[in-house]
Symmetry: C2
Subunit: 243 residues, 2 copies
């Protein structure tokens, strides 16, 4: 799929120009970063779903240092985009926890924390998804691949972005045929219990904050001692999120 075709197919799905562009920007970034499982292939997937393209996410509760949003039937991509834009417009002083209910699918979480890190904010983000990982001892899938993404502003302007799925492979890779569903297990081999524990812990953080259904949990901080000079200190290292 070419970029102009991708954008057009999003418009055809019924999204307004702003939302189509928001979605395109996410899928296009994933393509450029080699994360094809989160790229244009997702448009074909969206075309198979029952969508409400007019749905708009809403901030439904706000306290000092905390906000709760509801996707209101919008795609999770659009909910996270609205949250990032809101954090950029009204930065935390100095910290804010943001939770989001009905927030699915959320795409490559690194995209959202990079957005915030480029705006000068340290960000940690997790989001839940259908149960695909079983306990390492066996049994049915009980947790999603529940990634943890961390974005760090840096002195050279290019954020360091760690975006780690707790699965050995991503569902996106399975979706596009690049991996087997049998590899949808916690990563880590003989230490897979560690990735399972992280996936479970992150899932329960989200569940206790947003209730039933898929959601997101985000922490954004205006770090007193940022941006980080780590890349300057270790210029020869290939860092997470670098192309």
């Amino acid at each position: 799929m070419r970029p102009d075709e991708a954008l057009e197919r999003l418009r055809v799905l019924g999204f307004d120009e702003s939302d189509a562009q928001t979605l395109f920007d996410h899928f296009d970034d994933a393509e450029r970063r080699g994360k094809a499982g989160h790229g244009y292939s997702r448009i074909e997937w969206l075309e198979t779903l029952e969508l409400d393209p007019g749905a708009k996410p809403e901030k439904v509760a706000s306290f000092p240092g905390f906000e709760h949003w509801d996707g209101n039937g919008a795609l999770g991509y659009l909910t996270l985009a609205a949250i990032c834009a809101s954090l950029e417009d009204d930065p935390p002083r100095p910290a804010r926890v943001v939770t989001a209910a009905s927030c699915f699918p959320t795409g490559t979480l690194g995209y959202w924390v990079r957005w915030l890190a480029e705006a000068g904010l340290v960000a940690l983000l997790t989001a839940t998804s259908p149960a695909r990982l079983a306990h390492p001892d066996g049994g049915p899938p009980v947790v999603g691949t529940n990634p943890l993404a961390i974005g760090i502003p840096t002195t050279d302007g290019e954020p360091i972005v760690s975006d780690v799925s707790m699965g050995k492979v991503t569902y996106g890779d399975v979706l596009r045929g690049a991996a087997s569903a049998d590899d949808l297990v916690p990563f880590g081999g003989e230490q897979a219990h560690k990735a399972f524990a992280l996936a479970l812990g992150l899932q329960l953080v989200v569940e206790t904050c947003v209730g039933e259904g898929y959601g997101a949990f985000l922490v954004a901080v205006d770090g007193e001692f940022g941006p980080s000079d780590f890349r300057e200190r270790f210029p020869d290292l290939r860092l997470p999120g670098d192309r």
Copy 2:
């Protein structure tokens, strides 16, 4: 070392009765949970250090939804204990990010999030430590084993506690001779880049919030939809943190 000897040796180091008991409680819990690397063996280690047993941690900044503490030369155990007690006395409404500078050593992080989860709070905690993990591509150690601990209140009253070090082994295990320093690498085998990315991301979150030196980063939330009924839903699973 027997429990009464452990407590007495902490008193001999110069800690007042309250601090000696706080330290003993942590080491004793680690012993009981089979985490010997964080147990009484640490008292022998403390006896080799230059300590300031009279030092007391202090809350040095407070904003809605955010606090910053300084260890002031106190052991990190005591700083985290003071932070947990403070969160229990004055719970977040509904979320608070707490950062701590000069916070080392911090012991088994699961202990602190279990404390908060028993008080009804969802908690995520990370803390930095000396660089012991190299990049999977090689080179010198650049990040600590930087665990992420997550504590979840549950309907049956026994928190679910995920406490994952990003190292294949812990430094505590190396310290007591149970593991080789050569195994101080990011966990995950062929996917060790994932644990390295998590360790680096968490380290930079701490560094950008507390500056030079070892510190801690904690998020505590009074989850609207907690406590979790996960253990009731999956009664046969051996969950993280269960004995």
